[in-house]
Symmetry: C2
Subunit: 237 residues, 2 copies
């Protein structure tokens, strides 16, 4: 954690004084090993970055006086459409995507997406939000990426994606495609990351039909987790 995020309601108290508890208190004690008078890097969720001076620290209370004045870093012009992966991978990817600075994440189902994954508690709103916040705290960002779910492929292709990709480069990494993935594009992108088993030919055709370009990332078949940062490194300056 390189920055400690505070909820807007925590910041409503008198003169910017905030009390830390739970996970953040433990982190301050055990990892940062803070003392009274120390200053921590903090931010308001979906707000500004700044500093918090520890004004009281004892067994019961850790109190910070918070000053917020810096704008958070720019987001990448990247929307990710992600076939829901295995729950432990999904948990890690949410934090990774938030730390990389993705604008939005649309979690979808495809034919090869395991149906049971949708029953995991990792897709619940609170669990998702917590993982996104961890990623933001890693990257010293405050702004949550937009997150939505669209489980069924037909309405996804018919209704949701055509609107989302208007005015953007839409890329579909797909092993075996004859077109190599471009480098350092100078425009906003939407990238559709398929399930571990890959897309069906039918799915690739449908997505190509609405404007997705199938692109290859070389001969090697990679897992979803490294593919996402690899694309970020490749596409953006």
């Amino acid at each position: 954690m390189n920055c400690l995020l505070l909820e807007p309601e925590e910041l409503e108290g008198a003169e910017g004084v905030v009390r830390l508890d739970g996970r953040r208190r433990r982190h301050a004690d055990e990892i940062l090993k803070v003392r009274e008078g120390d200053t921590l890097r903090v931010g308001a969720v979906d707000g500004l970055l700044g500093r918090g001076e520890i004004t009281r620290l004892d067994r019961e209370v850790l109190e910070l006086r918070v000053t917020l004045e810096e704008t958070p870093p720019e987001k990448l012009p990247l929307q990710v459409v992600l076939a829901l992966p295995r729950p432990p991978v999904f948990r890690r990817l949410l934090s990774t995507l938030a730390s990389l600075g993705a604008e939005s994440i649309l979690v979808v189902g495809t034919k090869r997406t395991e149906k049971s994954f949708w029953n995991s508690h990792v897709v619940e709103r609170e669990a998702v939000r917590e993982r996104l916040l961890l990623g933001l705290e890693q990257a010293k960002d405050t702004r949550l990426p937009e997150l939505a779910f669209q489980r069924y492929f037909e309405p996804l292709v018919e209704e949701v994606l055509p609107l989302r990709i208007t005015g953007r480069r839409a890329l579909l990494p797909h092993p075996g495609s004859p077109t190599p993935c471009p480098h350092a594009i100078e425009e906003p992108a939407t990238v559709f990351i398929g399930p571990e088993g890959g897309f069906l030919d039918y799915e690739v055709e449908r997505l190509a039909g609405i404007g997705f370009e199938p692109v290859a990332l070389g001969e090697r078949v990679l897992r979803v987790e490294p593919v996402i940062p690899l694309l970020v490194g490749r596409l953006f300056r």
Copy 2:
């Protein structure tokens, strides 16, 4: 697993017939759900890729007749120097690095590398080899990256690295460096990935002194796991 790797000694049998057991037998049964007559993609560790036809399949024995004739994919011209990370991260990174096609991995200590990590069984040769093989099987490669350890910083900087980086671009991702990391370089690279807490200024100076260029990957502070594929996407075509 997109390719099943066989050890050279397994391939010494008569007429290329190999028996599968352990992890690979379970994978064939449970994930691939193979039947007699099916053909699997196989490879010889550090050798050729090819196909294995299932000639016998019963409760006791899964027997493959193996034909090897394809060369494995090219390696990336990438050497990674990696400050030993937390053991679960190290396990995953070994597979990721092998799947990405890194030529070599040199695992090192820096001031902020936790000493206790060196006592973990994940640094033992057999554990490392198994994780690398999983990455190769994912990427349909056969050739193990060269792997070495150099725990102490002084001999690393004085003796080991100057030889390793001769004739290569040597990059040191370091937040706050004024030089942005280059894109699509056309030469072999050695990349030094620091520990989660970053390098000390002294370490950056010493490494710059022998030819490493400190480069920044943007304002965001990222974890080691996404940084490696991000660099691969950025540096290579």
